[in-house]
């Protein structure tokens, strides 16, 4: 069994993003997708702090303190890119103009519910940032995360145990073991990492799994 590395997960997600899409890549693992967009495709990256057409990190010494991404790292602007204020930025998100948002998550449920902002009901000062706006507003939401927690608990579940970020928001999940669609019948496997069997995947998933690989192929 050869689970995908983070880089391979990012590359696996990147090949599914068509030319011309406007995308917001969440902080953390989803950010890696930007480095794997296939040659010849124009994917326009949105950063919720007011950038469309975000480019890669600048060369050392070329950083501009006024040009940072949502993770507060220095970035650049792609030719054709633009700047706008926060209300316009979230109008793009909430107004359904962003084709895709890729988020990290603690849990995803088989009905598409996502929990990715607070680790317990008792966390009184959790940081939500733009997660709820993105999860509720983007045209489609994909999640990129490890298939289980560090101590082996499933993150794909029948119902989220952590506080929700949004209801029925997630359309697809990329994990280190598989690519799964969220359909009206629950999780449906599209792709498996090399050597991963359906039997193994079921043993680390806390929800029923359908297999759509033949139908897709």
């Amino acid at each position: 069994m050869q689970p995908w590395s983070r880089t391979q997960m990012a590359a696996r997600a990147a090949i599914d993003i068509p030319d011309g899409w406007y995308c917001n890549l969440g902080i953390g693992m989803p950010t890696l997708i930007a480095d794997h967009i296939p040659e010849g495709r124009e994917v326009v990256l949105h950063s919720e702090n007011g950038i469309l057409g975000m480019g890669p990190a600048p060369e050392k010494g070329q950083e501009d303190a006024w040009l940072i991404n949502a993770g507060k790292q220095p970035v650049t602007l792609h030719p054709g890119g633009s700047y706008f204020h926060h209300a316009d930025s979230f109008a793009m998100i909430r107004g359904g103009h962003i084709d895709l948002c890729v988020l990290g998550a603690f849990e995803v449920a088989s009905n598409g519910d996502i929990a990715n902002w607070a680790t317990s009901e008792n966390d009184s000062a959790p940081a939500v940032g733009g997660a709820m706006d993105l999860a509720a507003g983007a045209k489609r939401v994909w999640v990129m995360m490890e298939h289980t927690t560090k101590d082996g608990r499933p993150k794909l579940v029948e119902a989220c145990s952590y506080p929700l970020t949004a209801m029925r928001a997630v359309a697809r999940v990329y994990t280190n073991l598989a690519v799964l669609d969220v359909t009206e019948h629950g999780f449906t496997v599209r792709d498996l990492a090399p050597g991963v069997t359906m039997e193994h995947l079921r043993s680390v998933t806390a929800a029923p799994l359908a297999d759509a690989r033949e139908a897709v192929a």
Binding site: A87, E121, A136
Partner: protein
């Protein structure tokens, strides 16, 4: 003659009252009006409600204002970030009230305030604990949460260029919350890196028209790297 450019920080901060709701621009260090926050610290107003995306970092700026016990409540989307030590201490000690608002809802609540819209419905946060206690209504078969406009008594804004009418431009992603906060407050105070002649910012280039601005103070501080 209109001249919104004031001579110094004391003039910029004159009349800010105890108990004010203060909107503070910026996202991370970009577009954060650090000098105005220092000015507010000097000025002395207390019992403030601060509205900002983050709850300050390190021990300067907003963090210092909080550490000095001048902030009663903070309204923000992302209180915990690298270096938000003062927030953590005060919050744990029960010395700071917190209202968490999703980032887009925070921006829209201020835009609504500036635009004369008292409340609006948004799909953001529907079905989550941030919707608890709020009116929920279905539109097109989907639940939406009612959110109220968020007015400021004062807005502190960082701009790149300003003219004497208060027309503003911003630098790159330093724009962020600044234009919506400028709209939403009764008294909008701007620190501008560059003061230019009236007309030097061509009409097409004006991002925040001077109607939303009350006072401008020139602060040539260079890059906001901490």
């Amino acid at each position: 003659m209109i001249n919104k450019i004031v001579r110094d920080m004391a003039a910029a901060m004159e009349g800010v009252r105890d108990g004010s709701t203060v909107l503070i621009g910026g996202f991370g260090a970009a577009g954060q009006p650090d000098d105005l926050i220092e000015g507010l610290i000097e000025q002395g107003a207390r019992d403030l409600t601060a509205v900002a995306n983050n709850a300050g970092s390190g021990r300067t700026g907003l963090a210092r204002l909080m550490e000095l016990g001048r902030v009663r409540k903070i309204i923000c989307s992302f209180p915990r970030s690298a270096g938000s030590v003062v927030f953590e201490e005060l919050y744990k000690a029960g010395k700071l009230e917190l209202e968490i608002v999703p980032q887009g809802t925070l921006a829209e609540r201020m835009r609504a305030a500036g635009a004369g819209v008292p409340a609006f419905f948004t799909p953001t946060a529907a079905g989550t604990k941030l919707a608890q206690g709020k009116e929920v209504r279905e539109f097109d078969g989907r639940p939406h949460v009612m959110e109220m406009a968020l007015h400021g008594d004062v807005a502190l804004v960082e701009a790149w260029e300003a003219d004497r009418w208060g027309n503003l431009t911003f630098r790159r992603s330093g724009r962020n919350f600044n234009p919506v906060m400028a709209m939403a407050a009764k008294l909008t105070i701007v620190q501008a890196q560059n003061i230019v002649e009236l007309g030097a910012i061509e009409g097409e280039r004006v991002v925040t028209p001077g109607i939303f601005v009350n006072r401008v103070v020139n602060v040539r501080r260079g890059a906001p790297w901490a």
